[in-house]
Amino acid sequence: MAVEMTMPILVVDDYKTMIRIIRNLLKQIGFENVDEAADGQEAYEKMQKSKYGLVISDWNMEPMTGYELLQKVRADETMKSTPFIMVTAESKTENVVAAKRAGVNNYIVKPFNAGTLKAKMSAVLGDF
């Protein structure tokens, strides 16, 4: 199925700079409908109100981490199938394994570039 380039994407990170970087990268690869949240709690509240085609989330945030957000999303019937990519500085194998077990669709370690983001999004959403 063709990827809908206007789909809303939710970017979750407590650093505004990182959100800005991801927003710019997404724009470069053709996605401009981007919403943002500063932590897992805010993201979850937004997801309860709107449907997103993809969530791109950091891990280490307060009060709710991206890991906790992932677990909540996958436990919620209304949003459990939302594609979820973790973009994080957490690079231990235990983190990757835990995220995979929790149902993450893909995992990007920081620092990363536009090519990596596009490749992982394609792996999750399909070619675009």
Partner: protein, 231 residues
Amino acid sequence: MPAANVAAQVRTSLASLKASDLQDAQIMEVLKLAHQLTDTMKLFFSSLDQSICQEFNYIADYISRTRDEIAALRPNDIKTSRIPSAGVELEAVVGDTEKATETIMSAAEAVLCEESTDYDEYRANVEARMMTIIEACSFQDLAGQRVSKVVNSLRHVESRVARFADVMGVRDADGYESDAEKAEKARNEKNLLNGPAIGGPETSQDDIDAMFADAAPAPDLDQSSIDSLFD
């Protein structure tokens, strides 16, 4: 005369008194016994005083040495100068890097949005913004100097504390975490919060990709493949 010998004499005198008819006990005998008892007690308390005195002297000496070592730590200097200034320097680093990032990103976004169709004008605009980015990168110099100052302060504190611990023979004790520290530690463990690794990611992107490749969904079947299932 040692206390033990006096005590033995007292026992002997008491035994002799008991053996004799107490009605005939002479006052002098009783007084003699009382003196012997007093001497015994004097010797006993004298030795006790000396022993306690020595203990107190040792404790006073230890307290005095501990005070000297704590003074050598210069805790007031650490508390009022070194730690606060390290905090200020780090806050300045955060501020400086934030400003530089804003400048760099704005310049980059402006270049990406540049719509001039005139080559010379386009080139001039791009060059101007590239120079802005290059100039903004000077934040690394200032940030590096500030972080070096903080590292020096931390090394200073570390060496003083290490010396104190060595000289006093101090070992770490359990149970000194505040409730807030315990809660943070528990949260970090539950959420696997390790932070960025030193020297680059601990697990490479290629290794991560390999972990996800195993779980790649089966490709969609085309129509002829589907049809063949019904033959």
